[in-house]
Symmetry: C2
Subunit: 185 residues, 2 copies
């Protein structure tokens, strides 16, 4: 077995950060393959797997994506940018509006979470970007009408070590039996 | 340190299953705490953390949730059911409609993916359920208007070992530079 890396799940979940500065070192296809294989292990409604991934390495296309993402130009500095799309038809043919507006967004988000963790386990930084012009991103990577862009993810060896952004305590977001009853108190 | 468990991230991602049969053995709060702490490590748009979790153990409330989930009665057999909500206001005050319809759904889905993996690492089975009456579920756990139920998750020691549902190959869902160009071929 090549490239065995053991990283405890909880360490991965706690250690992953949103990285916005990258070294130019390229990302080999073999690493991308492991990362994408982890992504598609996410569960999906009816196992319909509405995800699509476009691997972008072309410099000019990365710059266009960065401009479409409201000018977040650090995106273009990553050696790879992954554009994730939700193939709406794949969910909606069975689930109608709930497939289109809920499941295909959730399923692709679950795949993205796996992708970020797997990338981190292999030593890559990523940033999940959701602020962009859907129309522009779809045009840049050639998504047809039925594929909605849901994330733009630059990936590369991190050139910064961000701290952990603060989290609200569990006492604020976990409830017992009914919303508003503090949990475990 | 109590309860150190090391489970490789990739093993966790590959080994997690959707479990629909549970042993009655209770889930201690300490395990729930580790699982929920993993959940809230997910990234969120603007770090706004729109997630809410309601821990349900009451038998009658679990049965009502199962009925609200289109009669999937196995839900009521799990010792714990976690209802996840998206606190829409928390995302929309800054991001408007994109916060309401995209970010808060994605952010809660990312937290759920972490939750499923962490539960698996501690030996629990889970099932991410999205098919339910929003109105009924909100009523059962007392969500106010601004909290949208996004998932119902039964959790317990698994009483079945499901196989892995088939996945579409990467060649079908990964594209190079433009949608439709097969990747790495």
């Amino acid at each position: 077995m090549v490239g065995v890396i053991v990283l405890d799940l909880f360490e991965a979940i706690r250690g992953r950060r949103s990285v916005r500065a990258f070294k130019p070192e390229p990302v080999p296809d073999e690493d991308l393959r492991r990362i994408l294989e982890a992504a598609i292990m996410a569960p999906s409604a009816g196992n319909l797997q509405p995800w699509e991934f476009v691997i972008v390495r072309d410099e000019e296309r990365k710059r266009r994506l960065a401009r479409a993402a409201l000018g977040q130009m650090f995106i273009a500095e990553a050696p790879v940018v992954i554009v994730v799309g939700a193939n709406v038809d794949r969910s909606s043919w069975r689930y109608g509006e709930r497939g289109e507006k809920l499941y295909c967004i959730q399923d692709t988000a679950a795949a993205i979470m796996n992708l970020l963790l797997a990338a981190y386990a292999l030593g890559y930084g990523t940033c999940w970007i959701g602020a962009f012009s859907d129309h522009e991103v779809a045009k840049i990577v050639g998504f047809p009408e039925n594929v909605r862009p849901v994330a733009v993810i630059p990936m590369g060896r991190p050139a910064e070590k961000p701290g952990m952004p603060p989290r609200m305590p569990l006492s604020k977001v976990v409830h017992e039996e009914k919303y508003g009853n503090p949990w475990g108190s």
